[in-house]
Amino acid sequence: MTLRTLVLSSLCSLVGLVWIIESGAADVFLEATRPDFQKIPLAIAGIDNMGGAESPEGRVKLGSRIEEVLKADVRRSLVFSLIDVQGLGIKASSLGAEPDPSFKQAAENGVSIVVWGKAGIKNGNKDSDVSMDGYVYDAGNNEVVGGKRYVGSTSVVRLMAHRFADELVFRYTGEPGIARTKIAYVSELGSARELFVMDYDGYEPRQVTADGFLNLMPRWSPDRRFLVFTTYRNRNTQDIDLIELATGKRWTLVSQGGLNITPALSPDGNFLAYSSSHDGNAELYRMDTHTKAVHRLTTNAGGDLSPSWAPSGRELAFTSDRSGGPQVFLISADGSNVRRLTFDGDYNAAPAWSPRGNWIAYVCRTPKKEYKLCLITPDGQKRVQLTTGSGVDDSPSWSPDGRHIVFSSTADGKSHIYMINVDGKDLERITFTGTHNSAPTWSPAS
């Protein structure tokens, strides 16, 4: 059995395990993400620096920078366990494109994959292209199974590491990886709130809108080309706009007066679900993005908002206060079969359906009146609180691999963006500048 098929079968058995446990006893903590799935032991021997080139930011050697980004990506993949290369007797500087005798010993010490490479500035000129070579040794075959050679401007140094990390994940799981995904979010500029997009690790933030007032709650199109969001036209009315990231071109999708909030494109991009109060109070609507036909999904005296599509596109989770405080409900995509999902506590909102379908993340108010993240299965059988402590947590959004959640929190005072594994481990703050970063939303994988 090759390593790849071994991993795939492990992932399959993981899925099987989840279903067995879900149908069984309660009170099991997040077994879906504390699997028997063995991470693949991977050692990064180093990215050797050719010719003393420095990274674009200076201070750090180019190879060291790529290595640092690659290690963080590999760690966050949750597919590999990063083995400390110290003591394995491997020196990146002495490695070429061939397997080194030291790899054999590393393999005997349990390492399955050794990764190494070199990076430098072409022609030794500071304005020239950067190049990176990466190699992958597989202990199962005892050979170098392949490599990559990237070139590009100094602005793509981090992207080289991200792309190489995703190639590793793809090679060993068949999934595209998350290292090249993006996070769209809202950040404060003066008294305005504008849309931004950054890399999934918080680097390379780029401003998307510059309207000078409020742009809120962005969501990605499934092809990553567009964001849908709420914009305050002339400060007094809320519309739902679409912006094309490559050009900044904008279209107004919904403009009806009243609240027009929480837009969400279906997984196939053919429908837009949103909440509008133009007919009295906030109700859910579904627009066909081709014919522009609008279908009303809910009719009741309470507010209905925050639709989140199931990966199948056949159902949505949403927030409704029809029974008093806000609670999470489910509804079929045609508006039928509405049922309440959350019953613990008097405030549950902002549901986000996992791309794997097995969990719905949402904001839950605890008995101590703290706003934290909770997870619940779509059948309501299992519920767990994911985050703890002080600070208001909001806007959970899943990574496309279903292993992480990005969210905003005021845990450190000002609102910033954090990510956490679905098992509650590896809480990581990813924004450090700005006075208010909120409403993160994770892009699909490419």
Partner: protein
């Protein structure tokens, strides 16, 4: 209070019927690009609530250039494009992020214009001596103190029959951004409904919810929270 809000629901609904035509009429009458945009949006609305054309958001438009190419025993050179769209450094045939993130096509005048208009509104509202209404946690019921403030505001509106008022609903930072927009709208509408009870014609009043997105005060204290849970009355200037 529960019974009061129950009584108000049909009132809100009937009010909307009255207010909506008045709003659209006003938008068409006022000048400037934004009025034009509003007018266009409203024309689109007649055809189903949307603007007339927008692009294909389905997965059929997917760009394949970003796909992984796999490890290779003899890797050929793969050129990565940056994602700073329009920087001019992305040669054709590059891979990477298929240039799908951009720098803002910044309307540098937008922020300054908005700020000037907000300041004009604030000055007019201060000059009018309008008082805000404050709400309890999780609540959109008008308190006795709020009724007192609104009686004051109603007197000013009656003696300034030309004035158009905007009622902003605000929330404190607790709770979700999304649900606070709904709560803010309930607060703004509660204020509007009480002003109408006091005899103000609904045509003079518009409501907008800012949820927790435009806080009056940014500390994490109960005092600050109570300042932010408010219905804020603004005299519209110009638009």
């Amino acid at each position: 209070m529960k019974t009061l809000s129950a009584i108000h629901v049909p009132l809100i609904l009937s009010m909307l019927v009255l207010v909506a035509p008045a709003c659209s009429k006003k938008a068409v009458q006022s000048g400037g690009d934004h009025a034009l945009q509003e007018q266009m949006a409203r024309e689109g609305m007649a055809k189903g609530g949307v603007s007339s054309t927008f692009p294909d958001t389905s997965l059929s438009g997917r760009d394949e250039a970003n796909n992984l190419r796999g490890l290779d025993r003899n890797p050929s050179e793969e050129r990565l494009g940056g994602d700073a769209g329009g920087s001019g450094r992305n040669g054709s045939g590059t891979t990477g992020n298929h240039g799908n993130t951009l720098m803002a096509k910044a309307d540098s005048g937008a922020a300054a214009r908005q700020l000037a208009e907000i300041r004009a509104e604030q000055a007019a509202s201060v000059a009018a001596g309008l008082r805000d209404v404050f709400f309890a946690y999780d609540s959109f019921s008008i308190t006795d103190e709020g009724r007192h403030a609104l009686s004051n505001d109603a007197e000013w509106i009656k003696s300034n029959p030309q004035a158009q008022l905007k009622i902003e609903g605000h929330c404190d930072e607790r709770g979700t951004s999304a649900y606070n927009l709904v709560l803010g709208e309930k607060r703004a509408k509660a204020v509007r409904n009480y002003l109408v009870e006091l005899g103000i014609a609904p045509q003079h009043l518009s409501v907008v919810s800012y949820g927790k997105e435009r806080p009056f005060c940014t500390d994490h204290s109960e005092h600050c929270y109570s300042m932010n849970r408010r219905g804020h009355l603004v005299v519209k200037t110009g638009k």
